[in-house]
């Protein structure tokens, strides 16, 4: 019996573990290895350059720019979809007619690809006939030809809005799932005790939604770290690198300039950032588990 169990453990795990090890774990380790070389992506041989790629990071203005943009991108990509998603979930949960339909409408963008979403929003920001300029022109009664995606001041923000439009539905459904877990009796008691809607929301509902918030924030962080496609299609990191994030910078250095060694060093930094965030996430998750069971 014991031996048979051992056999099946090995037999069933062999294939998934091999695939995962070869195509995920090994490349992850290799990234560290290549970050100490000057491999160019083509030639068979390369040299070890020690920490040169990492010291280059310190002097690379574009890297600093990318880190800064990544922070802005991530903070906005956490706050906007989380707050919007929470708001929508609370509104939909208030038992208005058509709740299921509203849910579908807000959730729909999630099934579109980042490429299609980017395409849609490029049209909204289009200077000559884009919806945004058309609406602003109608309100001001004046011509409006502002090129939102071509100006360094507005490019990143414009992409963040498009990104939030797509991600809000995800936060909303997680919050809705969280809201169904809050007992109605509790809310009734609050009401009988004379708590106003606002008090009930601030002191009871939102604290009880903490587990959902942890999940929403973690997902937002992870998704925003991965966010590449939508920037690629909407701005390509431009203009003048004003919307260049770490993932974008890594792609450009590796596959445009063929500095694969340096690109690996950037991806190692990206990995360490992700690792830190995941660590914090798992710790928070345990705390939430302890508090809320």
């Amino acid at each position: 019996m014991e031996r048979q169990t051992r056999f099946w453990q090995v037999a069933l795990l062999a294939l998934p573990l091999t695939v995962f090890a070869v195509l995920v774990i090994w490349p992850l380790a290799s990234s560290f290895y290549y970050s100490f070389t000057n491999w160019n992506g083509f030639s068979a041989d390369y040299d070890f350059v020690g920490l040169a790629n990492f010291t280059k990071i310190y002097t690379d203005d574009l890297f600093r720019n990318a880190i800064l943009n990544t922070i802005i991108w991530m903070v906005a990509a956490i706050l906007l979809p989380t707050l919007l998603g929470l708001g929508l979930a609370l509104l939909i949960d208030s038992r208005i007619p058509g709740g299921a339909m509203f849910k579908s409408i807000f959730y729909l963008p999630i099934c579109l690809s980042a490429i299609v979403v980017g395409q849609i929003w490029v049209w909204i920001y289009q200077p000559d006939w884009g919806l945004l300029n058309t609406v602003i022109a109608a309100i001001r009664g004046d011509d409006m030809n502002f090129a939102w995606l071509a100006k360094p001041d507005t490019a990143l923000g414009s992409v963040i809005v498009a990104w939030s439009w797509q991600q809000t539905g995800l936060s909303m459904v997680i919050y809705l799932a969280g809201l169904t877990a809050i007992s109605e009796d509790l809310l009734e008691v609050c009401e009988m005790d004379g708590a106003s809607t606002w008090q009930r929301l601030r002191l009871v509902v939102i604290p009880l939604l903490t587990p959902a918030t942890v999940v929403v924030v973690a997902l937002s962080v992870i998704n925003s770290l991965k966010g590449f496609d939508i920037l690629f299609i909407m701005t390509g990191g431009g203009p003048f690198n004003s919307s260049d994030t770490l993932a974008m910078h890594m792609y450009n250095e590796s596959f445009k300039k063929y500095l694969m060694g340096y690109g690996s060093a950037i991806s190692v930094v990206l990995f360490l950032i992700a690792l830190t965030i995941i660590g914090i996430y798992f710790r928070q998750l345990r705390r939430v588990d302890e508090i809320y069971g």
């Binding site: 169990t5 195509l23 490349p27 939909i92 395409q119 006939w129 999940v215 299609i233 990995f271």
Partner: protein, 294 residues
């Protein structure tokens, strides 16, 4: 907002409503939601509108108005383009095998983690699941080098293989959580009857796991179909492009033919939209299950 909640049934509600002042909140919330819904739908409607308008109309600023006549020229243009057929076939050739393979591997691993735990299996499970959280850029360069070395660059194989591997974390997580709810007594009964683990997995556990399989199929299909990064890295020739890559590529070909681009976006999104419309329940469940139980 809980005012409607506190009223248990309609019968008791009616007399009460008579002496209570009129409660405007449900109406206000409803109107607010309608406004937000319109705002949220606008971008999607824009694509729909563009696809049935001529380039001339759009350039004249008529994109956002209701069309007086349906112009289907954009769709015939796209559907008669052999490149689009190729892109769609390629995408299907990647998406179908990768979706199936990742689910199969997730089922195998998930079963062991749920029903045949061993020393350290929890740690191993955690390592696999954490693969879900990393930006794919981290493994881009080594994978490019690997597939370059074995001569598979510019074929569909690397895309299929990488999506299979990257699907393992979520598939293992969901299957383990689902198998954990299958009663152990069921498995033990089958074992006593003389079944081996493979038979328990395929004859007992899998047939009752159809909801979890549906969740994974919708999630994986959507993600892989919509992916852009891996085809971008692994393919070079137009022959091997997937639809999302084709979409970007054709922006050049149809640079000012906005309507054609709109029709193309719509056709590229159709499979995932259909999956979404019919399996929305599974899709949402998967998103929340994978997330909440993570």
């Amino acid at each position: 907002m809980a005012d409607t909640r506190a009223i248990p049934t309609r019968d008791t509600a009616m007399p009460e409503a008579a002496d209570k002042p009129f409660d405007p909140w449900p109406a206000v919330i409803f109107i607010a939601l309608v406004c937000l819904a319109v705002l949220f739908l606008t971008p999607t409607v824009g694509v729909l509108l563009s696809s049935v308008k001529t380039t001339r109309e759009i350039a004249l600023g008529e994109l956002w108005s209701i069309p007086s006549a349906l112009y289907l020229g954009n769709f015939t243009e796209v559907l008669n383009n052999p490149a689009v057929h190729r892109y769609l076939v390629n995408t299907l050739l990647v998406t179908a095998p990768a979706t199936i393979a990742s689910i199969v591997l997730g089922v195998l691993a998930g079963y062991v983690f749920a029903k045949l735990p061993f020393r350290g299996s929890n740690l191993l499970f955690l390592v696999i699941v954490s693969g879900m959280f990393f930006p794919p850029q981290v493994i881009l360069i080594p994978l490019f080098r690997l597939f370059n070395a074995v001569g598979l660059i510019d074929t569909l194989w690397p895309i299929i293989l990488v999506h299979t591997a990257l699907g393992i974390p979520i598939c293992t997580l969901l299957m383990r959580n689902f198998f954990a709810t299958v009663p152990t007594a069921l498995r033990e009964a089958a074992i006593i009857e003389g079944a081996n683990e493979w038979q328990v997995l395929t004859k007992v556990a899998l047939p009752i796991s159809l909801p979890a399989l549906a969740v994974l199929a919708t999630l994986q299909f959507t993600w892989i179909w919509n992916d852009f990064l891996w085809p971008l890295i692994f393919t070079q020739s137009d022959e091997k492009r997937t639809i999302m890559l084709g979409l970007v590529n054709m922006k050049g070909q149809y640079s000012v033919a906005w309507g054609v681009q709109g029709a193309l976006s719509l056709i590229a999104s159709l499979p995932t939209l259909i999956v979404f419309l019919f399996f929305q329940r599974y899709f949402i469940k998967g998103m929340t299950m994978g997330a909440v139980k993570g």
